[in-house]
């Protein structure tokens, strides 16, 4: 044991404390490291601060500090009456709020709009929260049942028949068109150079048409029989329910395994019956409000929700068609997608408004709103097709091959294995498309529909409220509404994206 002091060097006194390291966290740290750490950065900070100063301060002054909050007409919002430079003229928004939300929807019927919006929110919210169960049922309700209910709520009116009458009517229309085409060919064959060929083809088509008319005769007979009964809707409903339930029962495997299908089919029909009874659809339903009275936020939401609901199936069909191995279908899908993606939406709306009525039979008029909806559905469908195609391409080949090894058919492989995975992959892209769709709905104001922007523009021309700040106030209000919807959707898409990529995060 040597004495400790005999070793060569041992420090006897304590070291002085070193100064604490420069703080790089918290607000002070932020200021030090990201704002004022070099001359260039100080300059940039000043530039940024000036930019904010000249945009944020005037906006706040306009919206809140200098705003006029109450009044009856324009005089309240004039600088000489208010005594200061007037900012936003909020009484103008208060006065125009019903027009901006409902358009010219009759005042007594506005509860229907409120109820529809409430239904939409109640159905949509659980769909958006990933943790909640029963996504399939919820999606079915929102994408299939809700649009139908919303139509009868917003538009009103009742039904005169049910599935049986509709199927019979549709088939009859189709059959008449086939026979008409055949007869046109036959009449053409009297003058044409290739008369025999035309005659053969024409009589073949007429023959097919006649055969179809014999085939659907039982259906049409049943329909005519039902229509003269006391309760045509309910009789029709009962027959449709029975037929569909039986078909579901046998398709699902008969007595051995078909019980479930039968039960769910009956449950669905009972639900439909309750809806019909509640809304009185069999007795004429609610009073009809024609779509030229709709307007404001209502039209914006109707157009965007319909676009969302209809564009997805169109997009999936086109995406599958584009990947199909059958040449004609693939070529058609590619041409269709590239065509709609290559033209501006406004020309599509012009097409739907001016050209589409020419393509339909003369006795067949389509509502202005429906025309715009058709145009938007086709346009957005093409964009969704490209999104879905991206998802399909991301699914490894092995998935499809494994399904084939299990003996699944193409339909089962696609609907049970490939599509669910593909769609989950592209949810963020789909939501981004929905955002641009929501923004693009403002274009319908150009083809004489009064959506939020159109109603806003119409309200500017009211002399009762014409002040220097009216336009700015109106744009501020509409801008806030648009921003809330779009920003909300984009945040949701980011949230889903993070959730999907959870395994990739380090």
């Amino acid at each position: 044991m040597t004495d400790i002091s005999s070793s060569s060097f041992v420090r006897q006194d304590l070291l002085a404390e070193r100064p604490a390291p420069i703080k790089t966290t918290g607000f002070i740290g932020l200021v030090r490291t990201r704002l004022f750490n070099s001359p260039t950065n100080i300059l940039l900070t000043i530039v940024g601060a000036l930019l904010l100063w000249f945009t944020v301060i005037p906006s706040v002054r306009f919206l809140i500090v200098d705003a006029v909050w109450s009044g009856q007409d324009r005089t309240a919002c004039l600088a000489e009456n208010a005594g200061f430079a007037v900012g936003a003229c909020w009484p103008y928004i208060q006065a125009k709020l019903p027009q901006l939300i409902y358009g010219f929807y009759p005042e007594a019927e506005r509860w229907r709009v409120d109820l529809t919006m409430l239904l939409a929110v109640v159905l949509l919210l659980p769909l958006l929260v990933p943790r909640l169960p029963a996504k399939g049922l919820n999606a079915g309700l929102f994408f299939v049942a809700f649009p139908v209910v919303a139509f009868f709520l917003l538009h009103g009116g009742g039904i005169k028949g049910f599935g049986l009458s509709w199927t019979a009517g549709l088939l009859q229309l189709f059959d008449e068109s086939i026979i008409g085409a055949g007869q046109a060919l036959l009449s053409l064959s009297k003058t044409s150079a290739i008369a025999p060929l035309l005659w053969v083809v024409g009589s073949l088509i007429v023959l097919v048409g006649t055969a179809i008319s014999w085939l659907i005769f039982p259906l049409t007979w049943l329909r005519d029989y039902v229509q003269v009964m006391g309760q045509p809707v309910w009789a029709d409903f009962g027959i449709t329910a029975a037929i569909v339930s039986l078909i579901a029962f046998f398709l699902a495997g008969g007595i051995r395994t078909g019980g479930r299908a039968l039960a769910s089919s009956i449950a669905i029909f009972i639900a439909i019956a309750i809806v019909i009874k509640l809304m009185g659809l069999d007795r004429g339903g609610l009073p009809i409000v024609t779509t030229n009275l709709w307007g404001g936020l209502l039209v914006t939401l109707v157009v965007s929700v319909t676009g969302i609901v209809t564009s997805l199936p169109i997009g999936i069909a086109l995406a599958l068609g584009r990947r199909s191995t059958i040449p004609l279908i693939r070529i058609f899908s590619i041409a269709f997608i590239e065509f709609w993606r290559g033209v501006p939406l406004i020309t599509v709306l012009f097409f739907a408004t001016y050209m589409l009525p020419l393509f339909l039979p003369g006795n067949f008029t389509v509502d202005g709103l429906v025309r715009a909806l058709i145009g938007i559905a086709l346009f957005t469908g093409a964009y969704q097709a490209e999104n879905v195609r991206g998802g399909l391409a991301a699914i490894p080949r092995g998935q499809g091959e494994a399904a084939a090894a299990l003996g699944l058919s193409w339909w089962k492989t696609t609907s049970l294995i490939v599509l669910p995975q593909a769609l989950r992959h592209v949810i963020p892209n789909l939501v981004n498309s929905f955002i641009s769709l929501f923004k693009d709905t403002s274009l319908v104001s150009i083809v004489a529909l009064f959506d939020l922007l159109g109603s806003l523009r119409a309200s500017f021309s009211d002399p009762k409220w014409s002040t220097p700040s009216t336009a700015f106030t109106g744009f501020a209000f509409a801008g806030i509404i648009y921003f809330i919807f779009c920003f909300g959707m984009s945040r949701y898409s980011l949230f889903v994206e993070r959730r999907l990529n959870a395994h990739r995060r380090s």
């Binding site: 199909s324 033209v343 020309t347």
Partner: protein, 401 residues
């Protein structure tokens, strides 16, 4: 006895099946025929209905109306046009107006977009937040909303020409539009332009030569003093010899409006401002994503080779980022061109406004006019995507080499 390999059986049936039905076989043939029948039926219905409807409305189908007199005026024309010109001329006028607003919009959108992207990437916290706010606010508002905002709120709130806002006494902004000096050619214009063109060509040749020397022989040639001299010195020298190439006619307030100078209509200003600021938000995101997509190891590798920061960015980072940036960037340019059709909302005389709007309501030739309008947009976008696929092919080739 040698056994020869048997010939494979004739596969004519297989080949026919392949031609008719693709990979899907006989099923494919059946589906194709059914599909063709349905398409044919729909086509027949459309043609027969359209013919009947046109007959009812007493409209003659065909493109003969293009030779008729239009009889309306257009308030901005790049080529001479009067009301007595034909509808075909209206089509060209509208198309040129669309192209001019698109090109100007694209230039501004690119500049603003790159600036905002640099702001967002800047290490300065405040500036990057400002860039983020810009992108979020602009992206989440409809472009039509922004066009109407600039046109109905901002430009309408400007004073009338008598109290117009003067920019250094040269240009004037009022609610009648933007008045700028118009250039008038002088005698020195031709030699000036000739020298300018010569300077540009010579500089390009010099650069080509320098790069060849660098890549093939490893010689560095300093060319920038010569380029500077060719691009600026030569034209200035010509100006001194031959006199000024052009003078500017300054606008002057006379009565209630401006005389002299050239007027840019307010619709054009509103449309350009709205379209370029809207597209700039998307371009900023694309540029930012492109620059972030280059691995930071590239920057470090450049530094370890002794390159300066600027040289690393110019030679290493930007070329790799451009590969990611260019395809979506062209997409945005295309979007801007398509969005310029929203001019119809504020009455800027673009293709949709004067042709699919005014001409359509005057002639009623819906099918022909809308088909022509859609066709020209389709042509523009197909041409662009063709150029882009050539670009993509070149990039993938240079990557593979």
């Amino acid at each position: 006895m040698s056994t020869e390999a048997r010939k494979p059986p004739a596969q004519s049936a297989l080949k026919i099946r392949r031609i008719l039905g693709g990979k899907a076989g006989w099923n494919g043939v059946a589906v194709q025929f059914a599909f063709a029948a349905i398409l044919g039926w729909i086509g027949y219905e459309i043609v027969s209905n359209a013919r009947a409807n046109l007959e009812n409305q007493h409209i003659a189908a065909g493109f003969g109306f293009l030779r008729n007199n239009a009889g309306f005026d257009v308030n901005q024309t790049l080529i001479p046009y009067t009301g007595s010109d034909t509808f075909l001329r209206v089509f060209v006028v509208g198309l040129l107006n669309t192209l001019v607003v698109s090109v100007v919009g694209i230039v501004f959108a690119t500049v603003i977009g790159f600036i905002v992207a640099l702001c967002r990437l800047s290490p300065n916290w405040l500036l990057s937040r400002v860039g983020e706010i810009y992108v979020e606010v602009i992206r989440n508002l409809p472009v039509l909303f922004q066009i109407l905002f600039w046109y109905l709120a901002v430009l309408a709130a400007l004073p009338n020409p008598r109290q117009s806002i003067s920019l250094f006494g040269i240009a004037f902004i009022s609610n009648r539009g933007l008045v700028v000096p118009s250039p008038i050619g002088q005698s020195g214009l031709v030699p000036f332009l000739a020298m300018l063109v010569f300077g540009i060509v010579a500089s390009l040749a010099l650069r080509f030569h320098a790069r060849r020397a660098l890549f093939q022989e490893g010689r560095m040639i300093r060319i920038w003093p010569y380029v500077l001299g060719l691009l600026f010195g030569l034209p200035v020298a010509t100006m001194l010899v031959f006199g000024l190439p052009f003078t500017f006619e300054l606008p002057q307030l006379k009565g209630f409006n401006f005389a002299g100078g050239s007027r840019i209509i307010p619709e054009f200003v509103a449309l350009t401002v709205a379209l370029s600021s809207y597209t700039a938000a998307f371009i900023a995101e694309i540029v930012r994503a492109g620059i972030l997509s280059v691995h930071k190891g590239q920057m470090e590798a450049g530094a370890s080779l002794g390159l300066s920061r600027g040289a690393t960015l110019r030679l290493i980072v930007v070329p790799q980022a451009m590969r990611v940036i260019v395809p979506p960037l062209t997409n945005q340019y295309l979007n801007l061109t398509k969005n310029s059709s929203l001019a119809v909302a504020i009455g800027y005389p673009d293709l949709v406004s004067v042709f699919a709007g005014t001409s359509l309501s005057q002639t009623g030739q819906a099918i022909e006019i809308i088909a022509m309008t859609m066709g020209i947009y389709l042509l523009i976008s197909l041409l662009t995507s063709a150029v882009m696929s050539v670009y993509g092919w070149r990039v993938s080739r240079s990557l593979g080499a």
